[in-house]
């Protein structure tokens, strides 16, 4: 079953557009990582899916319904992010009780165990929590609600390393025990890549890649060899990144070499090195502006 379907979806604000004619579908029971650089529209995509904001044009369907003003979508989905707010009249334990009332699949025991494990005080108010604690508390609600569509938007903001690890592990364990559709966004792909099945890579308001994480890893390859030799092989290909170390150069290109070409590469002493998902992500999302080095190089010549 398809859980989320975006058909030609655009979201624009007065001055600029965030999502640009986006098409994709998320199938049921898949843990998908929504990956992209700052400000590319990850949160916008998630808020449209949860029905908080409305697409400017195009068609959005969640559980076969337009999520905006859909009670079914609201009852079966949860979006955990830093805009989650709770009345300061409610203590943390009150909030858990309210969540229990609203979400039919709520796992009260799990919520309480996580609550105790992360040593929350039941009488504290949500707004008095530190940034990391707030994120942790929101994440507990996200996990324990067991919503058929669970969306985490940068859930680890402010969490320390130990808590971040614990959270990802808790999420994975709970996902295995209670399979459901999960969207998880992060800037740090290397942190979550072991967790993810699929990746939805967004760049400039468009889908740059959508598929299994292993496909992303195999999409690019790094050629390392003498500068002249490498240049001969890469001149007609799209280069996603390059680095020169003395006489040697490293070039990232698409992994589309025929068997003959591979033999020639190894004859010329060029190594083909697999690329990690994170390196592929960075390479695919680096704009036409070059790297940060270019900023400084230009200033020097001007």
């Amino acid at each position: 079953m398809t859980v989320i379907k975006f058909n030609n979806v655009t979201k624009s604000y007065r001055t600029h557009s965030v999502l640009d004619h986006m098409d994709f579908t998320i199938e049921e029971g898949v843990l998908t990582g929504v990956i992209g650089r700052n400000g590319v529209g990850k949160s916008t995509l998630m808020k449209i899916s949860a029905g908080y904001i409305q697409a400017t044009s195009g068609e959005v369907q969640v559980f076969s319904e337009n999520p905006f003003n859909s009670l079914k979508v609201s009852a079966n989905s949860i979006l955990v992010d830093d805009t989650m707010s709770f009345s300061d009249k409610l203590s943390l334990s009150d909030i858990l009780k309210e969540a229990n009332r609203f979400y039919l699949n709520w796992d009260a025991q799990l919520a309480q165990r996580l609550f105790d494990y992360f040593s929350f005080h039941p009488d504290v108010r949500h707004k008095h929590l530190s940034k990391g604690k707030k994120s942790t508390f929101n994440a507990i609600i996200g996990i324990a609600s067991h919503c058929p569509l669970t969306i985490f938007d940068e859930p680890t903001t402010g969490m320390d390393t130990a808590v971040r690890k614990d959270f990802y592990r808790a999420l994975l364990k709970d996902y295995i025990a209670n399979p459901r559709t999960i969207l998880l966004s992060s800037h740090h792909l290397e942190e979550i890549e072991d967790l993810l099945e699929d990746i939805l890579l967004i760049h400039d308001g468009k889908i740059r890649f959508h598929g299994p994480i292993t496909d992303l890893q195999e999409m690019l390859v790094k050629l390392v060899g003498k500068k002249v030799n490498v240049l001969a092989h890469t001149s007609k290909r799209t280069i996603f990144g390059s680095q020169v170390n003395g006489a040697y150069s490293e070039v990232l290109v698409e992994n589309k070499f025929t068997a003959d070409e591979k033999i020639r590469l190894s004859e010329e002493g060029i190594k083909m090195i697999p690329v990690s998902a994170n390196d592929a992500y960075v390479a695919l999302t680096t704009g036409a502006k070059g790297g940060i080095d270019d900023v400084f190089n230009r200033t020097a010549t001007d």
Binding site: K47, G51, Y52, I53, Q54, F63, N69, S70, L71, K72, S74, A75, N76, L79, D81, T83, M84, S85, F86, S87, K89, L90, D94, E98, A99, R101, F102, Y103, L104, N105, H146, C147, P148, N178, P179, R180, T181
Partner: protein
Amino acid sequence: MYLTEPRLTDIVKKQFLYKLNAYTGVFSSLLIMQLIGLFFGFNTGGGSSGSESLTINWRSLSGDMAVIFTLFWAFSTGILITTLAYRNDAFSFVSTRLSHHVSSFLFLLVMSCIAGITAPLASSVIKLISLFQHNAVFIETSGLFASPVDFFIRIATAVIYTILFAGFGYVIGSLIQLSKLVIPFLVIGLFILPLFNISGTGFIEYMVIFFGFETSLLIFLVKVLITVLVLFAISVAITNKTEVRK
């Protein structure tokens, strides 16, 4: 994971209970407002007159101030619960814009009933305290035992007026949420234009005549009911596209 098929009434009920728990600040502000009203009610007028042999000192007490402050509270509470913070709180759990409105409205209705019942009772508190001060009360509004019908009419009127003011607050709050530009337009339209005696601009004056001069409780009730329903429909219609938690 199976999908739940929620019913609107079910979610509205849950949200209503949630709001009773989460909006307790509204209760305390009502209490404070009525206490201020009581305080002002103790001395609404007074003086002394007399000749050489006889001096009369008099002081008037009024429970009206408590009612007036309650109406002010109702209006501001109506505005308050349409604000961004309250809306985001609601959308942290299951909610649609419609269910949020309906539950907020039920909440206002219940709060208005409580406020409307307690406001006239404030006058009893004033009388009681006055008696403890050994002051003779000469003219008084009849109480529950002296004239039960009057007593209940007074309470009903206070409740209905409170609902009306909360409804006006709610629609104005919703308009402000739509655009902050509404505020200057409202001020100009409601308060400044009538000063120049332009015909058709005396909205407040018209409202006072429409509601205030009504002598039949039943017709008054119907008028308020229809007005509040219209105000509610306007609030729902203008905010149905509002984006939340952005």
